[in-house]
């Protein structure tokens, strides 16, 4: 089964730009279903990016982040072919992790 995490990390030699799109319902807990019952909150709480063993970015999210969340950021360093490790944990304790190669 494919990871829920899609990553595009590209380095121009100096700066690495990272875009991530994650498959997750990001239910806020404020929406009712067709029967009128609240859909319980189910969202990623923390998303981390590690390069060379160090954290380069941490996202703390609430239910106000869009479904199938997206984030883009850049960091100095990172070479083509190097690994970037991405992990998330949601409010139910579920996790996913993936490693992407910097292009």
């Amino acid at each position: 089964m494919a990871s829920t995490i899609r990553v595009r990390a590209t380095s121009n030699g100096d700066i690495t730009e990272v875009q991530a799109l994650i498959q997750h319902p990001m239910d806020s807990g404020f929406v009712k279903d067709a029967k009128g019952e609240i859909i319980p909150p189910h969202f990623i709480q923390q998303l981390t990016f590690e390069y060379d063993g160090k954290s380069v970015f941490v996202a703390d999210w609430g239910g106000g982040v869009s479904k199938d969340p997206y984030v883009k950021f850049s960091f100095k360093g990172g070479k083509k072919g190097d690994d970037l490790k991405i992990s998330w944990v949601d409010n139910k304790g579920a996790t996913d992790t993936t490693t992407a190669k910097i292009q």
């Binding site: 899609r6 799109l21 883009k72």
Partner: protein, 286 residues
């Protein structure tokens, strides 16, 4: 609205006069799809001279700058990616009998979306891509999918993706039944229905770029090129079937069943008059 209607009629009349008035004049008895397509295209390019022909496939985004920017940002990493991946995966998995989708389609189903719908002369009916996919499943002993979303959307998303950039190439064979289907679709498009008494044309020919409540209306030219679509409103994917049925509901009409004759004929007409415009699917919409 009234000025838009006047403008629309004036433009259509002008188009008819300027480009092959004779065929159009006897259109009531003799359908002339090529003349229709040209008049259709000219109507929109004249109404929106600043929009490039191929940009009409971007619907409301071609009509509004603020919307266009939001769309560009989302296209950097679009929400329909998961659907395309799912479709690709489904395409590569064989059915229980060992066959696969590739066996049902020309060129293994790759890069062919722009040829759908087509008129099947043996059957005497319009065959859409969604219909062909479910038939493929049934012929191979698999249960059909809902026409509206999920798996059907994933399959059509993948197939559209493999055809991106290819121009719509809908053919109407020299067969009175094909012309009949085309005319049927055209009639449906221009017929008012529902409590709101709107036809498809009311919004998409008379008022593209304007707002209906909060939504900016898409032009009818190229309106199917981006299908299937990830709509923010649905927080998910939807097929042509989904859009036709929900649109009927929104004008307070009773929707037909997905893939009923009228819907397939409508898709035939709408696709034909957008011939030449590139497939941009799958797409994102508000």
């Amino acid at each position: 609205m009234r000025s838009a209607i006047h403008l629309a009629s004036a433009a259509l009349a002008l188009a008819a006069l300027a480009f092959g008035a004779v065929p159009s004049a006897v259109a009531a008895d003799t359908p002339n799809p090529p003349a229709d397509a040209k008049a259709f295209r000219d109507f929109f390019t004249q109404k929106f001279p600043k929009v490039k022909l191929e940009d009409f496939v971007n619907g409301p985004y071609s009509m509004n700058e603020d919307l266009h920017r939001q769309w560009e940002e989302k296209e950097q990493f679009p929400p329909y990616e998961f659907s395309v991946d799912m479709g690709k995966e489904m395409f590569s998995k064989p059915f229980k009998n060992g066959k696969s989708y590739a066996d049902c389609f020309p060129n293994q189903g790759i890069g062919i979306r722009q040829n759908y719908p087509y008129f099947d002369e043996k059957e005497g009916k319009v065959i859409t891509l969604e219909l062909a996919l479910n038939r493929c499943r049934e012929v191979n002993g698999e249960p059909p999918f809902s026409f509206l979303k999920d798996e059907m959307a994933a399959l059509t998303a993948y197939m559209a993706f493999t055809s991106r950039g290819k121009p719509f190439d809908i053919k109407i064979p020299d067969d009175p039944r094909a012309l009949e289907a085309y005319q049927n679709g055209k009639r449906y498009f221009y017929t008012r229905r529902g409590q709101l008494n709107f036809s498809c044309a009311t919004c998409h020919v008379q008022s593209p770029g304007e707002r209906i409540r909060a939504e900016v209306l898409a032009p009818a030219l190229g309106i199917l090129n981006a299908m299937p679509i990830y709509r923010s409103e649905w927080s998910g994917m939807g097929t042509i079937s989904r859009r036709f049925t929900t649109c009927n509901t929104q004008i307070r009409g009773v929707p037909l069943n997905p893939q009923d004759d009228e819907y397939r004929d409508l898709e035939y007409y709408l696709s034909y008059v957008s011939n030449g415009l590139p497939i941009s699917g799958p797409g994102a919409r508000p």
